[in-house]
Amino acid sequence: MKGRTPVPIIGNQAVLRLDSAGRKKPAADAYHQSAQAAYEALAAAYATAEARWMEAVLPATQTYLAALASALAAWSEAAAQAAAARDDRIQAAERTYAQRLQDLQSQADEAWQVYASALFDAGCAPPASGPFQFVGYYFPRGSFDPRTGLALDEHGHPRPLTWGEWAWYVITSAGNDPSNWFVLPLGMAKAPASAAAKAASAAAAKVASRLGGAAVSPVARLGKSITNWLGPGAGVLRSDARGFVIQSRDGLRQFRIDFKGPGTPPAHAHFEVWDAAKQGWVDAVPGQHRFPFGE
């Protein structure tokens, strides 16, 4: 080994070297001393940096926490004010609604009085159902047959509209969800007598006019009713001087007007619905084939 350059031996913890006498001398001591010194220097630097960081950050943190507390307080106050304002608006809306409901009920009662009087004058006893309630004549979805537009009884069987339903429809048809309502002529299917029907119709129209319906002409109202009955997207099959035919988009309802031809004068309308069992068109109101105009 003499004369050869000492070769470092790489170990796990230390570098072994040879001294001048060729004896092996571990470098661990020197290494440990250097590492200790380096660690102490690093620790000192870290401690200094940490102190400086704390010195810099702490005031900012305190400022942030103070601002946060202030913001939370402001938010809570604003939320409380908003809730109070909301409650006020809700209560105001509820008061308006209740007042409007009361007004409408009064008008409905008044309409009933006129209507019952008209029936009485026409020689018919008013229906036993009594004055109708304003909120009672919204037809719940499913309580009528969308194919025929007829109301359904508790067994799901078609039934004609009551006089109250019909009269209420006349009064309110312009302002309600059309899917809940029926075309006016359908309600006339089971009129107790033609004289009574005419009298009640005139009375209802008069009442409707008094209740603000004057802005909507009978023609416009009827047109709206027919539009409601047919639904959106109805297609005109014919439109000329002698006749008019329009069919609903789903092909289940059709409305016709004969200006000339059988049954005229007077001009009249037809309401027809598709009968799936028969695979053909039938009158929407059994036994009511034509609805004459001019009354």
Partner: protein, 81 residues
Amino acid sequence: MAAYEAIADRPGAYRVVLEERAEGVYVNVFADASSSNPYIDILQSDLAMAKRVCRQDYGIEEHQWRQIPDIDWHAPEPGES
């Protein structure tokens, strides 16, 4: 446009006349032999449908129909399409 006639000879439906028009086929029903105008004139979509409904409602079979000169109860005004 064609027209077809059949005698049903039933109460309230003595005679039926089918009237083809652009919009469909009118089923014109005459109450009795002396009636000059139909009291029912439902519009069916086509001739086959009209005949099927008449078989169901009035018992009119296919062989009972006979073509007749066109009638104009539901025809548009002359000159109109």
